[in-house]
Symmetry: C2
Subunit: 259 residues, 2 copies
């Protein structure tokens, strides 16, 4: 029995601190390495099912630590990106990747259109509908939410070390990213604007989908995962980044009154 | 008891012909003048609750006639725009308009943030989640859907007659709009590109929300409502417009193979 035959399933987004008082809405698309039983092991050994190809280690812990400091809402995805990467549109190769870094993902090779549609309906569509609901509720109430997506990246990429520690990535609207970059200069971190990825790598889907249509200030953050490898390190990184985000937001022009 | 206290309500989008074989997905945000009882009469007399301020007369009939000719899916909203205009973001003044043309809408004046959020959750969020689900299912299956939103406008605006009969409106991506405009030259209709409205009037929210993030070809069509005032007129207009849409789509470069 294929997954599609067992559908419909629906994995809603997890929403923490929805009543948070700040304008920040934090998003963690790669929060979980959970592989629901219905998809089996995708043909991967356990170590790979818990490695960076399955999730962004440290990103959820850091996101929670930031949410507490900023009194922000946090929306995260409950399913491993091995099943569906919620930061990719369904036609992007990485949405249900057949390979990640040097590893083949056997359970994703040659998916039928029906299985692709079933995973999209089960994971991607509910995640983005639930995130959208959080965003539009705030807009309807007269707030101007600020979208910050939080990711981590590996210290090594195809065997080469990465120098950058804190990457700040923007799409078409670069206001908040440039402000975060400016406020990061004394952070003690090696910062990179549009490093180690950029919108040209098609990694800004959530920003395009959730922030740009509403004109919301937005940024994608990438933290090198060796710097957030323990709960203590996550907290320490949040101590560094929360004031940067606060100052960056304060440096933006006030939102236009709406409605 | 306010509406917010009676929430949560959820008015899903109506989806017709979801298995349609063409790439067209037709959208009619202003299909219905239905005012669910929970919102009362908004302080309007019955004639205004059935007038253009409440819906786009003829747009749904024309959409259905086009869907049959094109074998297209059709997604339409079940609630009057007097409650929530699904072609507006929650912070746009027209989302829950206090005025429309020369008429005040008493039931929309001074809405609390909670009532604005409740209407957004009841009408706007489910409509766009359901439309999104139709779109991403097609993308996941390897199709490249084409979004066409269908509207009607009044022959008179603040007492002045409008000359245009068929308006073709685009947002940032003008590929399909220009193709439709080119193919309309021999239609016998007075055509206008970005008439009687344009993106500068903030009328392209659905295109921005549903088509641009996925790079889908898209266009907004506006038909003068005196030309689609009867079922026969709707069918006759569909006879004119369906071949134009088909030729316009055929004139576009083939979509990039994806995923």
């Amino acid at each position: 029995m294929t997954f599609a035959e067992r559908a419909p399933l629906r994995y809603p987004a997890t929403v923490e601190n929805p009543a948070g008082n700040s304008r920040f809405v934090l998003v963690c698309e790669h929060a979980s390495h959970c592989l629901p039983e219905v998809w089996g092991d995708l043909g991967l050994p356990e170590d790979l099912r818990r490695a960076h190809i399955a999730w962004d280690p440290g990103a959820l812990g850091l996101s929670r630590a930031l949410a507490r400091r900023l009194d922000a809402a946090l929306v995260h995805a409950p399913v491993s990106r091995l099943v569906y990467d919620c930061n990719r549109a369904p036609d992007q190769p990485g949405a249900m990747a057949e390979r990640s870094e040097m590893h083949a993902i056997p359970g994703n090779i040659g998916l039928s259109p029906e299985e692709r549609a079933a995973r999209t309906a089960a994971v991607y569509a509910p995640f983005h509908a639930d995130l959208r609901a959080e965003i539009v509720r705030r807009i309807a109430q007269g707030s101007a939410p600020v979208l910050v997506t939080i990711h981590s990246f590996t210290p090594l990429w195809h065997g080469l070390p990465r120098r950058v520690e804190f990457g700040i990535i923007h799409d078409r609207d670069d206001r908040l990213a440039r402000a975060v970059f400016a406020e990061s200069r004394d952070s003690g971190l090696v910062c990179g604007l549009n490093e180690p990825y950029s919108a040209a790598d098609d990694v800004t889907h959530t920003l395009r989908l959730q922030a740009l249509p509403y004109g919301l200030a937005n940024v994608m953050l990438e933290i090198r995962n060796d710097l957030i490898a323990t709960p203590e390190a996550e907290e320490a990184m949040a101590d560094r980044l929360a004031p940067i985000l606060g100052r960056a937001l304060a440096a933006l022009p006030a939102p236009q009154g709406a409605g």
